[in-house]
Amino acid sequence: MTFQSTESGATAARPAQARPAPLFKQRAHDSLTDAKVQRAMRNFNLAGARARAVAEVDNFEELRTAAAAIRDRSLAMLDVWLERFEREATRRGTHVHWAETHEDINRIVVEIARRNAVRKVIKSKSMVSEESHLNQALEAAGLQVVETDLGEYIIQLSGETPSHIIAPAIHKTRDDVADLFHEHHGTPRKTEISELTMEARKFLREHFLSADMGISGSNFLIAETGSTFIVTNEGNGRMTTTMPRVHVAITGIEKVLPTLEDAAAMMRVLARSATGQTISNYISINTGPKRPGDTDGPEENHVIIVDAGRSRLLGTDMQEALRCIRCGACMNHCPVYQNIGGHAYGWVYPGPIGSVLTPNYIGLEKAVDLPNAATLCNQCGVVCPVKIPLPDLMRKLREKQVARGLRPWQERFGLKVWAWAAARPGVYAWLTRLGARLGRRMGGGEAAIHHLPGNGWTEGRDMPAPQGRTFRELYAARKGRT
């Protein structure tokens, strides 16, 4: 998947050859017509788990408010906290690297690997590394890469990308996984989930023991201690960060928090919002490399802090998106995501937050569909643990699209004509009277229109027919004014 192939980009103003196919709709269609994916998506219900976990605390709304405020404070002085992080981390023996672009991430990691004669790399989950296609870059440099998060491991075997930021293989069924393991491990096909996880555990264990480098993400960077802060459920994050000789954490500039206490506050909302857990199974706070006398830990510890488009959002009407702590609650609750799954969104981050981040990170013109492919129901906004006003941000992106002429001319023209008429009550009354009569006639005896040419509505629905006369004309008649 490349940046260029990401989106529909119905950019009528561009030359035809530069206009990509309507990929978003096509991908959504593929997903909606894939019985296996649909079965997996129907079983997907982290929203229910969240609701139960949130009900256990009596002040979850206050916790959300506090979490949003903590994130805003961090973002307001991001430079200060990042420099403090760098100072504190460096003082404790961690090598801090700054990656301005995705290419920088891959270059820095390959350099570290070469310097340390690394042959095998294990990874715990890192969505930032998905942004830069790090695995491909490492493989191109001759390294073996093994994902160790169970979901990531499954999609690595199947040659796919994550369809969810915390549940990357959520689009897969148990049968899919049974087939994959049978094929790749050369073992008898198993069907019980416990057997499948034990098999993955057995195969992964060998990789943990033989890897030279571990690559992880970092949910937060703690400025006061120079620590990485990693939240996992499977324990693979802890092994990835402590067992190999070299550890590299990769995370975005926005993930810095001033203090450990801030991180503790974030943990009150993160796991509840994500998986409905009170707290995750593991929290790993790593500070510097192994010291003399330590029983474990990497000999070299690196942190790569990534910009790749993030700083462009600072100080703009999009800054609130940088509060995101990647819990996935917005997609778990999104009626669009729940039906089409993550791959349709075309880039690393799916769901509502993806529809905001993707156009901001890779370009508005490369993600034309995303901000529009939402009902603005605001279920995402009310569950977001850091109160990102996702529908408002999507709406602002729509405004930017209109301002930059990125919407199809038919849509812009249609809106202009409608708005012109709606501002002129006389014209509007005439048009609506005509429409009401025509619609009623089209609806016939069933009072339902089965087909409207060039209109996506009637592909899957009838259009209930209008009653035949407008309210305004009936009311005027009643008042005896006409």
Partner: protein, 259 residues
């Protein structure tokens, strides 16, 4: 939410009825049902003859200038009413929750925006919390289920009000869906631009409605209404009726199309 009234209680409340463009065009019977409910509550109802649309389609499509023009028109038409009542959570939410942001660049409008936005209420919210309606004119023999439309629920906190009113309708029994707050998939122009996704979301809603076995799904928004009814019919369900809460409360659920 409730604006207190500073005039003598025996004077009729001067209420502006914003029928909304979809009711005007598609189902005027809902407008008349709302009118009947307000009048039966003793309100003096003003229906500005020039009203068209609140501007939401333009606002949600990113055409800010067009939305602003229509918002100013609504403000002009309804300034002076003690309350502006809307039989739609979505249009009510547009005025109440978004006009201030939409017209933020025009500080000269801020007084009017404040007055009108603060006094705009969704119909059932108004009937319960302002006029405290005790008796409703309607009757309904059968079971209904109530769909919470997204804007009414999340922008205007409309949740208990329609249920409280439906409980007053003789003969009516309410059976809840498993997820009444789940979006129906309408989303304005989304339903046209992304028809396939929209219809699929509507399917989940229709499954939920059907599984209650209710005779009708009742709701407070035309958008959801067209979407759910359209999908039910396409699925071949011609039994489950889709009714606006105003129609049920006013006893217009069996009214002829021509009213």
């Amino acid at each position: 939410m409730i604006v207190s009234r500073c005039i003598a209680p025996d004077t009729a409340l001067k209420v502006g009825l914003f029928v909304t463009c979809l009711v005007d065009l598609m189902r005027p019977s809902i407008g008349f049902a709302a009118l009947k409910l307000l009048e039966s509550a003793g309100c003096e109802v003003i229906v500005p003859a020039t009203q068209t649309c609140c501007g939401q389609p333009a606002y949600n499509s990113g055409d800010r200038a067009a939305a602003q023009a229509l918002a100013r028109k609504v403000l002009r038409e309804f300034d002076g009413c003690e309350f502006i009542v809307v039989p739609s959570g979505s249009c009510g939410g547009m005025i109440r929750a978004h006009y201030a942001e939409l017209l933020a660049e025009s500080p000269e409008e801020s007084g009017r925006v404040g007055r009108v936005a603060e006094r705009t209420m969704e119909l059932t919210d108004f009937l319960v919390n302002v006029v405290r309606l005790e008796h409703v004119p309607g009757r309904f023999e059968g079971t209904v289920t109530y769909h919470d439309s997204c804007s009414g629920l999340r922008e205007l906190a409309v949740k208990s009000q329609p249920r409280a009113l439906l409980a007053k309708v003789p003969g009516l029994r309410l059976t809840e869906m498993s997820t009444p707050e789940y979006c129906c998939g309408f989303g304005g122009t989304f339903a046209v631009k992304y028809g396939e996704i929209s219809a699929r979301i509507a399917d989940r809603k229709c499954d939920d409605v059907t599984s209650t076995g209710a005779d009708a799904v009742v709701l407070g928004d035309l958008g959801c209404m067209l979407n759910i009814e359209g999908r039910l019919k396409r699925r071949g369900d011609h039994r489950t009726r889709v009714l606006h809460v105003a129609e049920v409360l006013a006893g217009a659920a069996a009214a002829s199309p021509e009213n």
